[in-house]
């Protein structure tokens, strides 16, 4: 079950990389082009999700030897 959930999360992250719904939108939001802002937020999101995985599903894999 854990493997399925983790795989689904990673697959979702990969698919979210392809932000095709923003590809034709040049407007600025918070001073940045919306497509660029999306990818900066995406990087922050990856970081947060990897942290969650490391402290939950992958906790045992990082137990010190």
């Amino acid at each position: 079950m854990k493997t399925i959930v983790v795989s689904a999360v990673l697959l979702a992250l990969y698919l979210l990389h392809f932000d095709f719904w923003l590809w034709q939108r040049p407007e600025l939001i918070l001073g940045l082009p919306v497509g660029l802002l999306y990818h900066v937020v995406y990087c922050v999101g990856i970081s947060v999700i990897l942290a969650l995985l490391l402290y939950t599903a992958w906790q045992r894999d990082l137990t010190a030897e």
Binding site: H17, Q24, P26, L36, S47, E65
Partner: protein
């Protein structure tokens, strides 16, 4: 002023690198792996500094000049996702195996995992062949930047020589320990200076919103400038981190497996910090310096600095570029030296086993020889060598199925590994000859990059070759999958 800042920076790097030498314990394991004592922050900075080259920073601005903000998703956020996942699924596993079996190099790992000297030697030549152009790009890029930033006061040959000399001194002094300290310092420098440069230039342009409103709106969206198939292909390129000898070397330096936690979490943030200013400055450059074509756009960052920043910042930016060059060059040359020392001399040397002191001496000698050879090659190479960068990444990424099979697939065999390695060598050479002279070459003009074909075929070759050959020796497999063998 610019020269003084650059000179001061090079001296600072030397001082930090030589500080690492004070901690050096004089053993081969310490020279090549810092006795596996590196902590989380230094590991993060070292991995990031090693992975990010000046080529990628200057190239990012140049690519953004032509293709707009889509370059961030093409090159940066794909690495932000893939690289830390590879650190976790490959790096932590290799760290455990490396510690358990006392391994020092990637080639040793593959030799022991599949019990094949021939395969190890073949992989050694492939890894070295793919890494040498990468070294050359760093040395040449550094020299060219020196020349441009000092407006010819320091010629290219002298700039490259200075960089090679500084790297050679601190790497030979303390091995990977000095490299790690110098990398940490240099990574902080290029991350910090990137941000400062960006803020100063954007203020000069009247603020970010004003500056962005003056550029072609099609550069502010992904649009048609990057085909979808190219975007998909590019997500495969960061798999190369799983096969870089210099990244492998740094993984093995970790103090323990939990040391990987910070690099996995913080890597995407570091990428965003460095790439956001680079991409934006490339886009803003289209209105400041219009009309650049082809590779000429790679100098846009330097041109923007010259136009819009005070002289002190020109020197600091130069220091930032050298930081990016040297933080990759030192690790690459040390990893090659480790491969030569351990996998060629150590393996095929006649007579008794090398002593610790001999290993260190030989490692130092190889560092100096490799840098000298790279420097001499850089003097006779022309700028077309920069086209080899993406081909180098393609080769390493295409070898990725080998490391995955070695770690996760008990049934994988030397026959599968041979099949995959030979497939990569043949197909890489074929596509290289077809497309290396064509910028942004894609297979049949489809937008699909050769890396996708190579990765698919090498994976298939690994599976078919392993299943068609005899199964591996169970004792050998159990050495690398101990937990599973206990439960079965």
């Amino acid at each position: 002023m610019t020269l003084a800042i650059l000179g001061l920076y090079l001296m600072l790097v030397l001082a930090v690198g030589l500080y690492g030498h004070r901690l050096f314990r004089g053993t081969g394991e310490d020279f090549f792996l810092a006795s596996r004592t590196i902590g989380p922050f230094i590991l993060l900075m070292t991995l990031f500094g090693t992975h990010m080259t000046a080529f990628s920073l200057l190239g990012a601005s140049g690519a953004a000049y032509h293709r707009g903000i889509g370059v961030f998703s093409l090159m940066a956020s794909s690495s932000a996702l893939i690289a830390p996942i590879v650190f976790f699924f490959v790096g932590t596993r290799l760290w455990r195996i490396g510690k358990r079996h006392g391994l020092l190099t990637q080639v040793q790992f593959f030799r022991e995992r599949w019990d094949s000297n021939g395969l190890a030697l073949f992989l050694f030549f492939m890894l070295v062949t793919l890494l040498i152009p990468y070294l050359l790009i760093g040395v040449m890029g550094g020299g060219i930047t020196f020349e441009e930033i000092t407006r010819g006061q320091v010629p290219r040959w002298l700039g490259s020589l200075l960089i090679c000399t500084v790297v050679s001194v601190y790497v030979t002094a303390g091995g990977v320990r000095s490299t790690a300290w110098a990398n940490t310092f240099q990574t902080l420098v290029f991350m910090g200076l990137g941000a400062v440069t960006f803020i100063v230039i954007v203020r000069q342009l009247g603020g970010l919103r004003t500056a962005l409103e003056s550029v072609d709106p099609t550069l502010l969206m992904h649009g048609e400038r990057i085909p979808a198939s190219m975007l998909v292909s590019y997500t495969l390129i960061p798999l190369s981190v799983g096969m870089f000898p210099h990244i492998f070397m740094h993984w093995l330096t970790a103090r323990n497996v939990s040391t990987f936690r910070l690099p996995v979490i913080a890597y995407p943030l570091c990428i965003a910090i460095v790439w956001l200013p680079s991409v934006l400055l490339g886009v803003l450059g289209t209105s400041e310096v219009p009309g650049l074509t082809g590779p000429a756009a790679n100098s846009i960052l330097l041109q923007m600095i010259s136009l819009r920043a005070p002289e002190v910042l020109v020197g600091l930016l130069g220091a930032g570029v050298f930081a990016a060059v040297m933080s990759s060059l030192d690790s690459q040359v040390l990893s090659l030296s480790t491969l030569f020392t351990q996998d060629i001399v150590g393996r095929f040397r006649l007579g008794s086993r090398m002593s610790e002191a001999q290993q260190v001496r030989l490692g130092r000698l190889f560092v100096v020889l490799l840098l000298a050879a790279t420097y001499l090659l850089s003097l006779v190479s022309n700028r077309s060598i920069f086209r080899l960068g993406v081909w180098s990444f393609t080769g390493f990424a295409a070898l990725f199925p080998l490391v995955i099979a070695a770690i996760y697939w008990r049934r994988s065999t030397r026959y599968g590994a041979w099949s995959a390695a030979v497939t990569v060598a043949v197909l890489w050479l074929y596509y290289f000859l077809q497309g290396w002279q064509t910028p942004d070459y894609t297979v049949g003009g489809s937008g699909l990059m050769p890396v996708a074909i190579l990765l698919l075929t090498s994976s298939a070759a690994m599976v078919v070759g392993s299943l068609l050959g005899p199964p591996p020796d169970p004792e050998l497999v159990d050495r690398f999958f101990p937990a599973r063998s206990k439960s079965s």
